[in-house]
Symmetry: C2
Subunit: 506 residues, 2 copies
């Protein structure tokens, strides 16, 4: 497709709204923001952020009334063989499938914009779009970012992505060159590493504790960097999963984040914050005999209970936040967003034009209907609280099963406070094979196989090691509490316990 | 997400079906192919191609009954807040929105697989998937490819992509290195060039006539290749848009394709066939006073009326075909597919795992419901015939308006036989500005602006030039007949004619 000339005008702002946006002020602010509703209109999160004193307000859209475009190769909507999409969705406060009759039906037709029924319709969603994503969904996302993270500098922007894997690949293509090193946590998301390696990018592993990445280790690595020994310039990119880290489940507290940010400032590092588990921050662990913790009593209380993101403390524009609907709505939507400074976002827009273009318009209109039209911001926060309570329960089930079944002589863990993953350390030096010369690797493999033989699939910790050239001191297994039903979680841990007992002769 | 262990078994084949598949034999063949219906199951087009004597038939899937996976970070479907999607779609033979009450309603619920209502459901579509795309949609696409193109070698494969732009970007990342040259048509899709240039890839322009790429020019370029003068090895990749070429509208006849293929064999070239307009091959142009041509009387007649693709003549596995639903169903779906040899497809799978992963699951289930469950192959071919007749009419409207309005003293064209684009040559040397020293570029710009001033947006031919260092002999403007309604097409051409008359003082 070719770029289209958009027909729209940005209005001057004369309403006073809170800056930053809150969920209460969104409605007022929306009376002054305009969603361009044409096919593939130009859009920018600048159109939806609340006004800031240093923000330039310009009517920078071309308006040519009556123009007929023979320019772009966009098919006519009469050739889209989908006339209507209806969604049945659960609604707050209970979100129960059983009460779905009191839930909502969201409908998208071809000409809802023309017929003034909605600001988004199939005529637009099923056609090409700009590589920012549609204004309709981008507005919701921009408002959400401002409500939750409130970036402390003015020229932040967001655009939609096709999910964090694609966004991370794009970030690497923009930010690093072949031969560069990037900094990652000692154990990290294996797919993030597999994305980097084929680009000729190498990793330096930063040591971790139960809060993830250690600032001293980061500082030391950079301070001691020896260009000639390493054969590469000093790393400029730190990749972190700050919340419910994959695979360790570690969550950095605010103090830890501030310390890491100061090290980043000292060495002029750019931080890529891959944070799909942000809203899977859960309540503290309670053993079976203690009463469970009630949900947050208000949206404010909920938002205040979340550890601030790196984006929230980023005064320099040195953070690229990768965010996604995968863990909170649907991974299949392949839709997420990034937040960063305008210069960085502009590079993403250019690269998306020549790669993914934009997330599926079908995904976008489904998300818009659900998030904007059915739920709105309050309903979405209710949903996120609902998830928080369910994941709290799942984590409790998992940790309780570990307490009940795992042999404490060789297994240890800390209950995770966010995410989907529980990280179990195994004292491999107690394995009888050590005496007969079995290596760390072969013992880990033996335990993995013993678990599969007993009908449970776990992930080997070594799969997630950032620097495979280092000797691995410890041994871990990653298990998830996201997927299986509660009774299966317990049974699976019982099987894993059997495998450990058999392997260690306990 | 981590890879899941799939639970499925490929059955041995004992039914006899036509090889290649036809739309009549699909039903029989499907009784022996199995669609894995779990979340993110392993899939391969090998599972859906009809049996071939040299094809290895192996039960190569792992079966572990009762295994509980704590391995991959896949959310449970109870946390997908979309319970049901209903689609209203037009049906064959008339596909009229007006008769939609006789059209179809396709429904996808969360547990249609478990409840034996469908082979695909929201539990699977809304979760992560393998980077092949879902087996459900991949099966339809594989069968479609075999029915239409019937690749003449056995180890061809297809997988789904996030559209041709993303597939082309991926192809470049796999097939070329920084500094390489690729071969393209003299005028080509500007976005394809913009994808190549930032990768450090340069282009060599192959001369064209009304059938596109000239074999002699291709052969000459390669025969005369001077590595030291060019500072690069001989090009190995030819990028072509063989049908309804963007921007020229040219379609290569079968003879032309065979000649180009022979040159590719001679120089061991790999052909990337970017062919989104394949099913926009239309009937020959008829002037207003002649009766219009009736639609093909059968599916067979329709398929035979299409020029065979490069894939159809590829005996060596040297063709990568990029195909897409963008021009025939919906660009917003961001879903397409590739066909190539197993080795090439395997590289795509690996790169997709670390980039786009797969097209949106929401797009995939919508396409599956429409194409497989509502229409089936016969209904889809009816739809494609329906499009063929509508685009024939649109092209006729466009060419008739050109005949009526454009000044023949300076404008000339050939009626396109496929695609969305009409390519108008303008004899710029007759422009009065030539005498006062205006350049080709400034005259093209002046005509473009004169058209915009009169309310019509056209595309400048120079935007599509593959090698901007060459002097441009001729001048062209690209107009599309895909987008505007019939009366607007005529009016737009009238305005463009006014602009030409004003510029040339006619």
């Amino acid at each position: 497709m070719s770029p289209s000339i958009d027909i729209d005008i940005r209005e001057e702002t004369d309403v006073v709204v809170s800056n930053p946006l809150t969920i209460d002020s969104v409605t007022t602010w929306r009376t002054k923001t305009t969603v361009p509703t044409g096919t593939a209109p130009f859009t920018s999160s600048e159109m939806f952020k609340s006004p800031s004193p240093i923000l330039k307000q310009a009517a920078d859209y071309l308006k040519i009334p009556g123009l007929i475009s023979l320019g772009g190769g966009l098919p006519s909507s009469e050739y889209f063989p989908i006339e209507e999409i209806n969604l049945r969705v659960p609604n707050s406060p209970h979100f129960e499938a059983a009460t779905l009759k009191s839930g909502g039906i969201a409908t998208a037709r071809k000409h809802d914009i023309r017929n003034k029924i909605s600001q988004y319709d199939l005529e637009v969603a099923l056609n090409y779009s700009q590589s920012t994503g549609s204004p309709q969904l981008l507005r919701f996302v921009t408002e959400h970012v401002e409500i939750v993270h409130c970036p402390p500098y003015s020229d932040w922007q967001c655009i939609l992505t096709s999910g964090n894997t694609s966004a991370w690949d794009t970030a690497l293509r923009i930010l690093v060159e072949k031969g560069d090193y990037i900094l990652t946590e000692e154990y990290t998301f294996s797919s993030a590493l597999e994305t980097a390696f084929p680009l000729g990018v190498r990793t330096v592993a930063v040591k971790m504790d139960t809060q993830g990445c250690l600032p001293e280790s980061l500082d030391e690595t950079l301070t001691d960097w020896d260009e000639s020994a390493r054969g590469a310039r000093k790393p400029r990119i730190l990749y972190v999963i700050p919340t419910g880290q994959n695979p360790t489940g570690a969550t950095q507290g605010l103090e830890r984040r501030l310390e890491l940010y100061r090290v980043a400032q000292k060495h002029d590092l750019f931080i890529v914050e891959d944070d799909p588990y942000y809203f899977l921050q859960i309540e503290p662990y309670t053993p079976p005999d203690e009463p469970s913790i009630p949900p947050p009593s208000s949206h404010d209380e909920f938002l205040k209970a979340l550890v601030p993101s790196f984006l929230s403390i980023d005064v320099d524009g040195r953070v690229l936040r990768l965010d996604s609907f995968s863990k909170v709505i649907s991974p299949g939507s392949r839709a997420g967003w990034i937040v960063a400074s305008e210069q960085i976002v502009d590079r993403f827009i250019r690269l998306f034009e020549c790669s993914t273009q934009n997330p599926s318009g079908i995904s976008q209109i489904v998300l818009f209907k659900l998030l904007d039209e059915q739920w709105g911001h309050p309903g979405y926060l209710d949903w996120l609280i609902h998830l928080r309570m369910h994941y709290t329960e799942r984590r409790n089930t998992m940790v309780q099963a570990c307490e009940k079944f795992l042999p404490l002589a060789v297994a240890s863990w800390a209950p995770p406070s966010a995410g989907m993953f529980h990280w179990i350390q195994v004292d491999w030096r107690k394995h009888p094979g050590v005496r007969s010369g079995m290596t760390h690797d072969s013992i880990e493999m033996a335990i993995f196989k013993a678990a599969v033989d007993r009908g449970v699939l776990v992930s080997r910790g070594s799969w997630f090691r950032a620097d495979k050239s280092l000797i691995e001191e410890n041994m871990f297994f990653r298990v998830t509490f996201a997927a299986a039903p509660a009774d299966k979680i317990s049974e699976a841990i019982r099987r894993f316990a059997d495998a450990l007992r058999a392997e260690f002769g306990l």
